[in-house]
Symmetry: C2
Subunit: 115 residues, 2 copies
C-alpha cells in the first residue's frame, strides 16, 4: 500500500495515528489486506486522509488523520480491522510502534483547503 | 536518508513533527543535506528519535520526536537547518506538509524503555 501525495487535511486541531513498522519476510496476504484497510478506513466517519511510505525492504510509516479520538476508537474496534490487527501482530510485523497524536498546527508548500 | 527501526521513545506525552514530502527530480545536494540534518537533529536538546521512509520515486514521510514544543522551535531556528529549509522549498520538494502534534499515547510490539 502506498499513497502518492501529502494528505489535504483541514485546519488543526485534528488527530494523527502514526504507525511505524518493520515487515517480516514474504507477503502472507499483507498487500491485499493493506489495500483493503485503506479502502475501509476511507469509509469510516471522521476519516480525514492517509499517507504511507515504505523504504524497499525497510521501515514503513503510515499516518492516518482523523477528526476526533472517538473516530480513532471506532476505527480500532471495526470488526474487519480487528482481524487485520491480529494478523499484523502474528504474521506481518517484525516490529511496530503505534502513536496517537493531536495535530496542533500545520503548514505546507501548497495551501490546504479551508476546513 | 532512511532509518531502519521504529524509534524507541519514552512514555507520552511528547511531540512529533510529521514531515510528508514529494521530491523533485534529481538530487541537487539533497541526499548529503538530509543525512547531515539527521545528524544535527540528534545533537539538539530535547531530541527523542527519528523515523523516515520513502517509497521509490514517491512519497516520503519523516517523523521526528521531541520532548517539548520549545525543543521543536529551537530546531526550526537552528542556523544550518534554516538554510536547508530554504533549499527544500526552492529545490528539493515539489510538495510537502509539516504537522506538529502532541503524542498522547503509544504502544508497540516490543516494549519501549521506561522514560
Amino acid at each position: 500500500m502506498s499513497t502518492t501525495l501529502p494528505a489535504r487535511t483541514p485546519e488543526p486541531p485534528y488527530y494523527a495515528v502514526i504507525f511505524t513498522s518493520l515487515r517480516t519476510e514474504g507477503d502472507h496476504g499483507y498487500g491485499r489486506t493493506a489495500d483493503r484497510m485503506v479502502e475501509l478506513a476511507g469509509q469510516q466517519p471522521g476519516f480525514l486522509g492517509i499517507e504511507s511510505a515504505r523504504d524497499p525492504g525497510g521501515l514503513g510509516i503510515t499516518v492516518s488523520y482523523w477528526e476526533s479520538e472517538d473516530a480513532i476508537r471506532a476505527w480500532r474496534e471495526q470488526a474487519e480491522h480487528r482481524v487485520a490487527q491480529e494478523a499484523g501482530k502474528r504474521l506481518w510485523y517484525e516490529d511496530f510502534q503505534l502513536r496517537v497524536a493531536r495535530v496542533e498546527r500545520a503548514h505546507g508548500k501548497r495551501p490546504n483547503p479551508t476546513a
